[in-house]
Symmetry: C2
Subunit: 306 residues, 2 copies
């Protein structure tokens, strides 16, 4: 039996919020449904943040409502939330899981959330307790787990302490995020190996960007350490506001193909994933920077079909 | 002291022969000099094959002559040769090393060289003896070492046998080539680990294409096995005639940056490498498919300078 790896597509959130074109609620729902139809087991469908700060994510409650009303939609939907108000909105919208962001640097905590690292931890801990009562899963994501554009390299021991605290407190998933795409596979291997040794792999995940072209190498390094959960973005949509010209999240297209070829079960139908990827490019009006394997894969699938 | 990894830029050969635009001798020399100026320690500067079959490589003797006449050019130049006649031309042109291609499948041997696998081995063995007398290094490259577009997955034991035979016979370098960019890092890890165990790493190298976006992941997997020699192509120039839409060789830009960030010494100046990469794009008139880290790296270098 094949070993399973769980991919969470964060394109409808991390991807779309970094595009210049803002999609309508209907378009966001269409994209999410296409990703779900490909068998991606978890999708971050939006965030409950200030629509003034992130206009692309306005109306995420309507996205949840539309998905809920569609009888064939069964993929667990995750909402990113910044604070208690966001949590309440996500809960009321029917989110099955929420993502909270923690920080491995003060610089990024301040820039991204106007909070200190400790404030972010305190709020996440409060929400974690509420979510337990509400039977909502919590994904705790440690931003800039490898390096921060403001404060430089992150301290691996600090990251391990944050991870221990939140895994100990019952976080359902703990994700190490290479927010600016700066990590190399050697760094990834060392940090993930240490964390898997302390906590086992079941709750640990990784979130990579492909800024320096090392996205897939980092996924492989984490797999070697035992990590079996990855964030990725359909067609590689995304980017980083702090690194102009940077490419986006590692593409679900590339990650799924590599992991399946390596013999893992992802539950994803690559043909349908290509359709979702094409849709992502059409809707956003960008030739996505990621999904680099797409030309090959489309040719391969056409040949199989033809 | 940092551990060293030797990069061979094959762009002036593997890259240019797959471009629709054919460069002049002067342009080829300009590109080779720019790559050498960046500190790349080995360059495959051309091939001595039929100019009718590969028009882009016509006049490789003139490329050697031009490089020889330039007093500041000291980078070892490698020529790819298909047969004894090619060897004599390369020797007369002053090549310090020659690359001979061996095959892990009959299908590719026939298609690429109109020979059997055994014929290719026999000719390479003859040339290896001549080259010893002439004090010319021999790089024996096993094509389709992982998978063949005609015959399917290659037999790892067969690849190991070919490698043993030619390392035993005194080949200076033995390169495993993923000719069509089909390998995944798990396959790379297994094959390279077995070969390093049998022969040590000093003569072994790997040659990857980025067709399925796994190029850098494969480099990392090979590094983990102990491999310290890699072929790559400036700006990711290249391609594969058997996989339409496929991207090219793994980019020297990406490989050098990853390995240096991982703490290896490559001897390469990344700023000068970017200049060579820009030149490669200008001369060929293509926005190269590889060199994906370039946007980030150029921004980073500008910031350091500014």
């Amino acid at each position: 039996m094949k070993e399973r790896i769980v991919i969470t597509d964060v394109g409808p959130r991390d991807g779309l919020q970094n595009q210049s074109k803002i999609l309508s609620i209907e378009q966001r729902v269409e994209l999410i449904r296409a990703i779900a139809a490909a068998g991606v087991p978890q999708i971050e469908v939006g965030s409950f943040v200030s629509p003034r700060a992130v206009p692309a994510m306005a109306g995420t409650d309507q996205v949840f409502a539309a998905l809920d009303s569609q009888s064939d939609y069964r993929t667990p939907s995750i909402a990113l939330i910044p604070n208690l108000k966001g949590y309440e909105l996500a809960r009321d919208a029917g989110a099955k899981a929420v993502t909270m962001v923690l920080y491995a640097s003060e610089g990024m905590a301040e820039k991204n959330s106007a909070m200190s690292m400790t404030d972010a931890e305190d709020i996440t801990m409060k929400i974690l307790r509420l979510a337990k009562q509400d039977e909502i899963e919590v994904v705790a994501t440690i931003a800039v787990a490898f390096s921060c554009p403001f404060d430089g390299p992150s301290d691996p021991l600090l990251v391990q302490n944050i991870a221990s605290k939140f895994i100990g407190a019952g976080a359902d998933q703990l994700v190490l995020a290479d927010t600016i795409g700066s990590a190399d596979p050697q760094q990834v291997r060392l940090l993930t190996e240490a964390l898997v040794k302390s906590h086992g792999a079941s709750q640990l995940g990784c979130h990579f960007h492909d800024t320096r072209a090392m996205g897939l190498a980092n996924v492989y390094a984490a797999v070697e350490s035992g990590i079996r959960r990855f964030d990725s973005s359909i067609a590689g949509l995304g980017g980083c506001p702090f690194a102009p010209g940077a490419t986006g999240n590692v593409a679900t297209d590339d990650v799924a193909m590599m992991l399946q070829q390596m013999g893992f079960e992802t539950g994803i139908d690559l043909g349908r994933l290509m359709k979702a990827s094409d849709l992502a490019e059409t809707l956003t009006g960008t030739a996505a920077p990621g999904g680099r394997s797409k030309a090959w894969l489309q040719g391969h699938l056409d040949k199989q079909a033809g």
